[in-house]
């Protein structure tokens, strides 16, 4: 079966419907599926629930979909870099479900692994715990969190082979591996596609079973949010 599509629009063809739930990988702007997000914007699909750790910045990443008002609800842990988001949320134009970052990661991992719920100490005694089942284990209180799945997962990796096996690079891995497992359909974009056999099987991060469609991204801007450097010491 051929998993490789010629571009982002082709890879997403037939997968969209209004009101769908989409997971998008990345932490800040690092490791985001920027080509697939562009195609998502161009498709005009609406009323999206988007599960992603962050919401991009005003003019890049998922911020593009906020500008076009395609997102109805975000499920995130931190959205502090996006003014459009803050304005839309405070004006009640956007629903928001905050999840602690570790809870979000584990909910996605669980969803992809067929685990409907789990207990965690994170958030006990806070707003996050309201309305959730509490249970004691060995004298400590935990809350129940549920697994998350999506109609479509969009992930970014560094390299893939033609089987859809993926390798991520440095901290661009973040939420991508779990999201790849939790989509009914997972579409991956990568910087390079190699022939099968060209990747070391011991070094595959996401096995190809989790990836249904694959593209080589046309362009990678890889914008940096906080370019922080140090000066070379004088010799």
């Amino acid at each position: 079966m051929n998993k490789i599509y010629r571009d982002a629009a082709a890879a997403l063809d037939g997968l969209f419907f209004d009101g769908m739930t989409i997971m998008a990988g990345g932490f800040g702007l690092c490791g985001i599926p920027e080509n697939l997000i562009g195609a998502l914007r161009d498709s005009g699909v609406r009323d999206l629930t988007v599960i992603s750790n962050n919401a991009g910045v005003d003019d890049f990443g998922l911020g593009l979909l906020l500008q076009t008002r395609q997102i109805k609800k975000m499920v995130s842990s931190y959205v502090g870099e996006n003014k459009t988001f803050e304005r839309q949320y405070l004006n009640n134009e956007l629903e928001l479900e905050f999840n602690p970052q570790g809870t979000l990661a584990e909910r996605i991992r669980a969803g992809g692994a067929g685990i409907p719920g789990f207990y965690t100490k994170t958030g006990v005694g806070t707003l996050i715990a309201e309305g959730k089942e509490h249970k004691d284990f060995s004298g400590e209180t935990y809350i129940m969190e549920t697994g998350l799945k999506a109609d479509l997962s969009l992930v970014k990796a560094w390299k893939a082979d033609t089987e859809g096996n993926l390798i991520y690079r440095k901290t661009a891995r973040n939420f991508n591996p779990m999201m790849a497992t939790a989509g009914k359909v997972t579409v991956a974009e990568v910087e390079e596609i190699v022939e099968k056999g060209a990747l070391d099987p011991d070094c595959i991060h996401t096995p190809g079973i989790f990836v249904q469609r694959l593209i080589k991204g046309a362009v990678y801007e890889k914008r940096i949010e906080q370019r922080t450097t140090r000066k070379k010491e004088a010799v």
Binding site: T120, T122, T126, M178
Partner: protein, 215 residues
Amino acid sequence: MPWTRDDMAERAAKELKDGFYVNLGIGIPTLVANYIPDGIDVTLQSENGMLGMGPFPYEDEVDADLINAGKQTITELNRTSYFSSADSFAMIRGGHIDLSILGAMEVAENGDLANWMIPGKMVKGMGGAMDLVAGVKRVVVIMDHTNKAGESKFKQACTLPLTGTDVVDMLITDLGVFERNGSGAFMLTELAPDVTVDEVKAKTEAAIEVGNHLS
């Protein structure tokens, strides 16, 4: 003279012990990395998926795929490993990280911490803070003692939505250091230069004890 941001970071760095795995929060806690004492070897964890965080890069080393949890460009070391967010929070929630140093908006006398939202005003999110305070063995908070209006941020009870309950083990402010054993009361144990116990008491809403050597 109250402590500066760098002074507070330098004081917090004294809490590092040899061999510790440490997570530093965004803001002042990030500065702690500049003051790691000589002879102390610590490994810094970044919750976006990195263990063994190096210094900021030189201009020609900047890599968009290599950032810390504050989204700043960073470098790797020869001990570095990379992993997913799920593995990262297994380290944090599973109790494998020795120390977390975090910023705060409010700390209460019972160890409650608030640092993630101001209802109706500011929407940022908790990021990994709720996981860190729930799972890391020891939590040190650095914050200014008062807000811009001069009101105490070290309170009887937090007024902002909580990040965690009974989680703060040590508080470092620009006025001094407050330590806590288990779930007991905070005790003032150190003062910034030229700051008096009376000044700290006047600027503190929380009920505190004062160390014998200071009173």
